[in-house]
Amino acid sequence: MGDKSLIIENSTMKLILLLSYILVLLFSSSCRKLEYSPNQKFDKNTPRNINANNLNRLLATPGDDTIRFVLSGDSQAAYDDLGTFISKVNATKGIDFVILNGDISDFGLLQEFKWIESFYSKLNAPYLAVIGNHDHSANGLYVYQRMYSEQLDFSFIYKGLKFVCHNTNSREYKFNGTVPDLDYLRSQFKTEAGVTGYFAIAHVPPTNGDFDKKLFAEYGEILTKNGKVYAVLNAHIDRETIQYPYSSTLPVITTNSLYNRHFLVVEVVNNKFKFYDVEF
């Protein structure tokens, strides 16, 4: 009898040990590993309104009279490259802010947005993200809107320059004529007092097949009519290009992708605009 109860005790011990092993496995590997769906629009730890928060940070910094910002794009699946990118940008003097110009994610999944954010949040300068076509996949649009900006088109004025960030991913809307939103752009590019120059920032360049052809001409008209637009800044095509499809004074510039380890530094000094490519 004594022996038998010993066996039971032993196996009960074993059982308790193994049950605690399972419990430890389940809970100590932290609730962050619990995933309800890869298509979750958010989880407990998802940051919100990053664009608005970073814009407040930007507007609160005094800075100097040089405006210098980074144009980066297509961070999709570039996790191996982002550490170096962040160090490089942080080591560059006088960066006011950083633009992540679309295709934040590859598949529109929350996990991808979170991975990217875990790198970009290490930037010393505030950053703002613009939506890309890949970010429209699955629930990516909702993830973007919750994490970055409810409005896909938004603008801000910094040191007398106006930055108009907008959605040009026309193909994702079946070229239905609403993207880019020309009415919005018309109102944003009306010349206004105190603004000495403008930038149009969007993921898909107007010269690309993913931009709504029907809107190409009018889009250019709005920008050229303003007269003070320094450049149209795009990404999407994974190489650095400069084109003048509308006028010789309006460059359309694309930045190479982060995956290819490139970004652009854009500067405006004494109303003069210049930019250069950085390989890292």
Binding site: Q40, D106, F107, Q111
Partner: protein
């Protein structure tokens, strides 16, 4: 006549028996819903394989309302007898497919909207690999009357092909464990 009726009935009876689920699961997380519910079958003669069919949901407050349908296959190569009434299936590899219904998700690309191969994956269907650990105990007497023979508690790690691709392209800086997600559940064997 009677023979005729018997002829038509008998396969039906065996089909019913065949279709009768042998297990039922309730699961939390594990990429198939906030909560999911399913029924399952034993596979192979040694009953080491299993197939679970589950429906899961995510409530609005937990990540946006959505439904997920899952077909999960698992194999239990190792059965460790812990005591007269408990068995541990320590490491069980598995595969599962999930379907995410809804207008936001595509199974095949809309040909009018995209050139062929524009996006190579389907946002509505995910392919997962998994590894689970399961501890199974004989049901207490009071449960035996309800037909439940064993009750199991399991924990399961999984990843999907899109996470795997992300990891494969970034093996230097993306820890492999980062792409594995957790779920746990209760399984009853009839």
């Amino acid at each position: 006549m009677v023979l005729c009726v018997m002829f038509f009935l008998s396969p039906k009876v065996s089909a019913q028996k065949f279709l009768m689920p042998k297990t039922a699961i309730v699961q939390r997380a594990g990429s198939i819903g906030y909560n999911s519910f399913g029924v399952g079958y034993n596979l192979f003669k040694n009953k080491k394989g299993s197939l679970d069919l589950a429906w899961g949901y995510v409530p609005k407050s937990k990540g946006g309302r959505q439904d997920i349908f899952a077909a999960k296959f698992a194999y239990r190569p190792l059965s460790i007898k812990l005591s007269d009434f408990a068995v541990l299936n320590l490491a069980n590899p598995g595969l599962f497919v999930t379907h995410h219904p809804g207008g936001k998700f595509h199974t095949t690309l809309n040909k009018d909207q995209y050139p062929a191969g524009y996006y190579w994956w389907s946002s509505a269907v995910r392919f997962h690999i998994s590894a689970s650990t399961e501890i199974k105990i004989n049901a207490p007497k009071m449960l035996l009357k309800t037909g439940v023979e064993q009750v199991a508690l399991y924990g399961e790690l999984n990843t999907n092909e899109l996470y795997a691709v992300s990891w494969f392209k970034n093996r230097e800086n993306l820890p492999l464990l980062d792409i594995f997600k957790l779920g746990f559940g209760l399984k009853v064997y009839f």
